[in-house]
Amino acid sequence: MILRSLECRFLTIALCDAAEPWQLGSQDAATPMMQGIIDLHHDIFFFLILILVFVSRMLVRALWHFNEQTNPIPQRIVHGTTIEIIRTIFPSVILLFIAIPSFALLYSMDGVLVDPAITIKAIGHQWYRTYEYSDYNSSDEQSLTFDSYTIPEDDPELGQSRLLEVDNRVVVPAKTHLRMIVTPADVPHSWAVPSSGVKCDAVPGRSNLTSISVQREGVYYGQCSEICGTNHAFTPIVVEAVTLKDYADWVSNQLILQTN
């Protein structure tokens, strides 16, 4: 199984947009946001390895040299100004180098710089999701709304991922700025799609905004990420990114279906 997972990571050309068995790393980025998160992870890992090597070396050296056999009489140094200054300043500098890219990413994810082209409301329920596309309606009632339920465990067809597939996917256009409005109708939920770098909590009575711009067409899988009751594990999210033209076709088809 591990071999199969490694094969999926390194030998296939298809990008990884869903959770896999034995997965250790992130899923492949589909948005600039996720690319930023992966890059930040790698940046911080550089410092992490540096610190790990340095601390391990100190530990091993201390154990090697200062024990009963090699040094029977312990030294009693309890104070050293120079080393104390160094060991305070140096970690602060490291933290600073981690903080700069971290804050830069945080604020770039938060800031809504461009006007979005589409608003999609993801409404969490126990235990399914309702999606509302209300940009195209001219009254309160006729909005394009559908429920998205999981495919039951004993029901998936060949090629479908167990407990990740839904009956109605959220269709979005690729390379377009999207505004997701996330809110629940009962208890807290969370709308999370790892490949898009989004994990947005759905808090009752509040609507949260998160912006995404999917860079490539594909199907992206995510799961509810806030414990919401018995069927929390059976509340997946599937985003299908298509071209802008296909998206427009899909919307007009859905509108016809809803009016009939």
């Binding site: 809504v112 006007d115 608003t119 505004r179 609507s207």
Partner: protein, 80 residues
């Protein structure tokens, strides 16, 4: 078969008054602005369309329904 409606891909633009992730107040504000607008300019006025687009895009359908009910019962919390 019904005539295929042409889809114009556009949504309500961002609002500098509500720059944070929490858009609850924005949806509520748009809803009030729309209703004040149709009170002042009359139902179906073109100037009110942008407010209608705003609250329809941002408010969950359930909230809009609930507010409608509350307004009918006279228990709506906003200044309407």
């Amino acid at each position: 078969m019904a005539e295929k409606p042409t889809i114009k891909v556009e949504t309500t633009p961002g609002d500098w008054r509500f720059p944070s992730a929490n858009q609850t107040k924005r949806c509520f504000t748009c809803y009030i602005e729309y209703n004040k607008c149709i009170e002042a300019k009359g139902e179906g006025s073109d100037e009110c369309t942008k407010y209608a687009k705003c609250y329809r895009s941002l408010c969950p359908g359930e909230w809009i329904e609930r507010w409608k009910e509350q307004r009918a019962n006279g228990t709506f919390a906003g200044p309407l």
